[in-house]
């Protein structure tokens, strides 16, 4: 083979005389020829003597009958060398001896060549088959790995789909819950409003009546009492004192206004609830952001600590199209999170402004903020940083959904200094799908 770095056997690679004849095969034949009477016997390739007998030949005898006879050695049709016998060639046996020697060597060469070719091709084929097996094995391993990856991937896909389904399910549940709460609130508001109406108007009437009772009592006390007998006067004074009429008349003047203002507050709460749940509003009605925020803050009055400072800076906001109740719900969750993040000394700034075709609503608090590694997860349903049992989720999924319903999005940032800032970007102009 001419290519040195190519170690593989090439079918047909050329052989030399030395490759197909071994000294151990040649030597006995040359030896035998000499024993049979030849003076010298040798095998040569070109000018090079490969083997000869005797090994150290004495100088040829000067005899006219002693001649060198040479016959070719054939390798694949090519004469690659010759066998030479130096003998008295007048002797016919010596000529025959030379032929026999050549025939024996040619036969050995052919047999050896055939054996070599067989071994070589066999080895080659075995190696090749082995390599093909290895390659097949590699392919199989690779494809197995691919399938395994696919299977693993499948698991991930299933998990993703499951999570999606869970979210959808949770959303449906929440929407159902909200709808149910809305219906309940509407029913309750109606039920409460009617008797509340009586109560309020009757209380007002009662207050007037009580005023008159008190006037009448005063009148008796000061004008008519003096005309009575001393006994009766004493009895009346005692009775007055026993019944603590002084305190009563004083107290009743405070009790009734308190009742009235309490009932009026109940009336307001119900009105706020109705507003918050958008019970009396058509679904297609435009949503006023400031109003929605005011309603939300109204229903949350009880849970917002007294020391909390909530600052609103709403500038030039357009009306939106969409589900107002959902937006109120989102506001409520954002405000509630702020309150829970900073139960004391909350400073919440709610900024609203229009930027291009978006409305940007930022809720910035002075709480501990949201850790960066949690930011991608806080919008998942039921995700919470609170202890188990302290309520489900941060309600941020609702915020996320509300933003989506208004063709927008929600982001969480670090507020400058401390705290978190949740920013809802809502599509202005054409409305959302909610």
């Amino acid at each position: 083979m001419s290519n040195v770095d190519c170690l593989e056997f090439l079918v047909g690679a050329e052989k030399e005389l030395r490759d197909v004849l071994a000294a151990s095969e040649v030597a006995p034949l040359l030896h035998a020829a000499v024993t049979a009477g030849a003076h010298r016997a040798l095998v040569q390739s070109g000018r090079e003597v490969l083997w000869q007998w005797p090994e150290d030949p004495v100088v040829a005898t000067e005899s006219p009958t002693c001649l060198m006879k040479a016959l070719p050695l054939w390798l694949e049709g090519e004469a690659v060398g010759e066998v030479c016998v130096e003998a008295d060639m007048t002797h016919p046996a010596h000529d025959a001896l030379t032929r026999m020697l050549a025939a024996a060597l040619n036969t050995a060469m052919n047999a050896n060549l055939k054996r070599m070719l067989t071994t070589e091709i066999h080895t080659q084929v075995v190696n090749q088959s082995y390599e093909e097996l290895l390659a097949a094995n590699r392919d199989l391993t690779a494809s197995e790995a691919r399938y395994r990856e696919l299977a693993e991937h499948l698991e991930v896909r299933v998990q993703e789909r499951t999570a999606e389904l869970e979210q959808t399910w949770a959303r449906l549940l929440r929407q159902e819950k909200m709808a149910a709460v809305g219906t309940l609130a509407a029913g309750m508001a109606h039920e409460i409003n009617n008797p509340l109406g009586f109560i309020l108007s009757n209380l007002n009437t009662l207050q007037k009546y009580v005023g008159r009772f008190v006037d009448m009592l005063e009148f008796f006390n000061h004008r008519i009492g003096a005309c009575l007998s001393a006994d009766l006067q004493d009895a009346a004074r005692n009775k007055w004192r026993d019944l603590r009429m002084d305190y009563l008349t004083e107290d009743v003047a405070e009790l009734l206004p308190q009742c009235i203002s309490g009932a009026q507050r109940v009336k307001q709460i119900i009105a706020d609830l109705r507003g918050f749940a958008h019970i009396d509003v058509a679904e297609t009605a435009p949503v006023k952001i400031a109003e929605a925020l005011a309603r939300t803050l109204a229903v949350m009055k009880a849970e917002i600590p007294a020391d909390a400072r909530i600052e609103q800076r709403l500038v030039n906001l357009p009306e939106l199209k969409g589900n107002g109740a959902l937006l109120c719900q989102a506001f409520m969750n954002l405000i509630r999170n702020a309150v829970q993040a900073r139960p004391e000394g909350l400073e919440l700034t709610i900024r609203g402004e229009r930027c291009a075709d978006e409305v940007c609503l930022a809720f910035r608090d002075n709480g501990p903020g949201v850790a960066a590694d949690l930011r991608s997860r806080i919008f998942e349903p039921f995700f919470t940083t609170r202890e188990v049992g302290q309520g489900i989720g941060l309600g941020l999924t609702v915020v996320h959904e509300a933003a989506r319903a208004f063709s927008g999005r929600v982001e969480v940032h670090d507020a400058p200094g401390v705290g978190a800032e949740f920013v809802m970007y809502l599509k202005a102009g054409e409305g959302g799908d909610g």
Partner: protein
């Protein structure tokens, strides 16, 4: 080409008889060996066979010398046709200078011929040879048998490819020398283009063919 050693002034060529099992590849070589005189050729070397079916290969070597002294050895191989010996076919096909495809003319063998020819195409590509450019001849053997595909059909199928077609009945020695000559001639033409055998070595195509096919 197995090797070309300018220093040694020796060129070693390889011709391969390819084809489906039992199509007569070994028979072709046997007949060549019979028909050609021993001058210039070596012995037919049939590596071990099993039930007369080639396992490794058969080899018939030729040897000639160009006027320039360039020694040219041409090794003619058969491959085993049985499907299972594909590794061997690939090994033998490496560095081939020309291919004779021996097809079995029997109608029942048409499918095997096609499969084997596709196998040749695939293996040539695997050993880095191009079926479109390698010297190729197709022999339709066993014309002596009944129920063989008609010459008209063969002509219709193969003429458009431009590959020379030779009818043969190898057992009887018919078409064997012709196939070999066509292959040798085509191979020579391609070698001559590349190595300028005639111009640089004084070896004409006729000389080449004559030396290769000295009849008994």
């Amino acid at each position: 080409m197995i090797e070309f050693n300018p220093a040694d002034n020796k060129m070693v060529l390889k011709l391969v008889y390819y084809g489906p099992a039992l199509s007569g590849k070994t028979t072709n070589l046997l007949q060549l060996h019979e028909l050609l005189a021993p001058e210039g050729r070596g012995d037919l070397m049939m590596l071990d066979t099993r039930d007369d079916r080639t396992i490794y290969f058969d080899l018939l070597p030729f040897f000639l010398t160009a006027p320039s002294g360039l020694r040219i050895k041409i090794k003619v191989y058969t491959v085993p046709g049985q499907v299972r010996h594909d590794s061997t076919r690939k090994a033998v096909l490496q560095r081939a200078d020309g291919v004779a495809f021996i097809a079995d003319s029997q109608l029942s063998e048409t499918g095997n011929n096609v499969a084997s020819f596709e196998n040749l195409e695939k293996n040539l590509a695997l050993v880095g040879l191009d079926i479109a450019s390698i010297p190729l001849v197709i022999q339709f053997n066993k014309r002596d048998l009944p129920r063989v595909v008609s010459e008209a059909d063969i002509d219709r199928t193969w003429r458009p490819t431009g590959i020379p077609i030779q009818m043969a009945s190898a057992v009887a020695g018919a078409g064997v020398l012709e196939t070999f000559s066509i292959l040798a001639a085509r191979t020579f033409m391609q070698l001559d283009e590349r190595w300028r055998l005639e111009r640089d070595h004084g070896l004409s195509q006729e000389d080449f063919l004559r030396q290769l096919s000295v009849r008994n």
